[in-house]
Amino acid sequence: MRNAFADELTKLGNADARVVMLSGDIGNRLFDKFKTAHPSRFLNCGVAEQNMMGVAAGMAMSGLRPVAYTITPFITSRCLEQIRTDACYHELPVTIVAVGAGLSYAGLGPTHHACEDVAFLRAIPNMVVVCPGDAWEVRGTLRAAFKQDKPIYIRMGKKGEPVIHKEVPPDFAIGKAITVQDGEDVCLLSSGNMLPEAIEAAHRLKEKRVSACVVSFHTVKPLDELCLAEAFGMFKLVATIEEHTLLGGFGSAVAEWVVDKAVKTEAFLRFGTPDLFFKKSGEQEYAREELGLTGHQIADRVLKALG
């Protein structure tokens, strides 16, 4: 996803002189094209994320369209107050791009895990929260981000994830979920980098003669309520899937919606990380397996719930 981000940003930066890239001392060589084309609009802000976010806000106040980028915990919880007060309270078009969603950097340990960021950021007024499902969705989100006048948080995986779409979905819009494959029995609502696992789960379910619809529910705020109404109205089981704690993330947002709208649910499952720091070494696949988040584990739990 991050290569798509750098490439798309360069294109957008070529077309729009207001686009400024702020990096928290990461992305060695990743932004070379942008830097070469627009040296005055690329700033390495160092390992100083509070300042970086304030600088982004000051630029947005002065008519620029800054993008602030670094590893997820450092661009979210490290500078949460600057996001809240400087960007969101002032309602500024600051684009916050995080790399390393959830357990993407599992091997680096809990300092680099990011399983609480969606909960933090979706609680802030004026904030838009988007978790793209693949590289094409990253591009679509970035294009849409520069067309709105609000703060936005874009939560990316890392690099080399499976590419699901063949292009930016033609009707891609922030707040509009995308049906990746149709199904009849259950609906898997996947947010962010779990999309390949959701597709794998659907594949496994098909082997057991359960037809699963898979939705890339990239925007956690604002929720696509129409999509939710359809999902809970049409399917005998709905599941939310995310690489994020079950406290306060996408699944929580859907649960809140279900309660607030008094929606009748036949079966509603939430897949996410538990309320703990995952301290063992190992890469993302291992961590997902340990935490019950692989495609086959998702399929097994769905089958069990169906009885």
Partner: protein, 280 residues
């Protein structure tokens, strides 16, 4: 834009009179609202008077002019001083000051975002103004504009790590049109500043962080105006003015008494204060 003010030699007497007017108004506001932070506001009135009436290229009829100088009250708890200055400058009616801290008003205890013209940034949480100011200055550089950015910080605010992140950033980026003024009144909310976190030697600290740093009497309006007018000063560095001030300045029974960080004056005390300020 009124460019003339940039080079005009400051009229120290007029600035002093303006500072007294600000103090008188702020004391009235504090009494009417029974609002805190009076002493913090009084300590920076000379700085605020010097910058608004002697330095900034601003036009209340064009508060969003892209080329205007920016002033950020990073010590947002001195909002009363900012409100009074903006009203006196004509950014909004002076009568608006009567709504300070009242239910449903626009003048909260800390400056709000996007409610009133002239307020560049909503502050109140310390350590935010300078990073924002650096972003503004960089946007000027990117667009080829030469406006200046001033951020007024409290001494207690220098406790915040984000201030020093921004200090190193501004120095690395050579943001020579950025100026910090520290209202160094030696008190923070509940204790002496240097007994809380060691700021001293504060001017040396800013110098060590790559700034052109100068100390001054923070109540000498003429010198303050000259120092702030002289930004950028040719050093190629951002400028830090360490302004030695007295908390509660201008009213003998408030000066250097930290109870006035939170206390609001009675009606009798307002009269007494106005007498001392030569307003009645």
């Amino acid at each position: 834009m009124n460019v003339a003010v940039r080079d005009a030699p400051p009229d120290a007497r007029a600035l002093k009179e303006q500072a007294a007017q600000l103090r008188g108004k702020i004391i009235e506001m504090s009494h009417a609202a029974q609002a805190a932070h009076l002493a913090s506001s009084l300590s920076c009135c000379d700085i605020v008077a010097a910058i608004y009436w002697g330095v900034l290229n601003i036009d209340p009829r064009k508060p969003k002019d892209e080329l205007r100088d920016r002033f950020i009250l990073s010590k947002g708890h001195a909002a009363a001083a900012l409100y009074a200055a903006l009203a006196f400058k004509g950014f909004f009616p002076i009568a608006e000051l009567d709504t300070y801290c009242k239910d449903g008003g626009k003048l909260a205890e800390h400056p709000p975002a996007n409610l009133l013209p002239g307020i560049e940034a909503a502050t109140g949480s310390l350590g935010h103004g300078l990073p924002i100011g650096c972003g503004m200055a960089l946007s000027g550089r990117i667009k080829g504009q030469t406006f200046r950015v001033y951020a007024l910080l409290s001494d207690g605010e220098n406790n915040e790590g984000s201030v020093w992140e921004a200090a190193m950033f501004a120095a690395a980026q050579k943001l020579e049109n950025v100026c910090v003024i520290v209202d160094y009144n030696k008190w923070q909310a509940t204790a002496r500043s240097n007994e809380t976190l060691m700021l001293a030697p504060l001017a040396d600290k800013w110098r060590a962080f790559g700034w052109d740093s100068v100390e001054t009497d923070g109540h000498d309006v003429g010198r303050l105006a000259v120092l702030m007018q002289n930004v950028p000063n040719g050093s190629g560095k951002p400028v830090a003015i360490i302004a030695h001030t007295i908390k509660g300045k201008g009213v003998s029974f408030m000066e250097d008494d930290n109870n006035w960080h939170y206390r609001a004056p009675t009606a009798d005390e307002v009269v007494e204060a106005h007498k001392e300020l030569g307003l009645i």
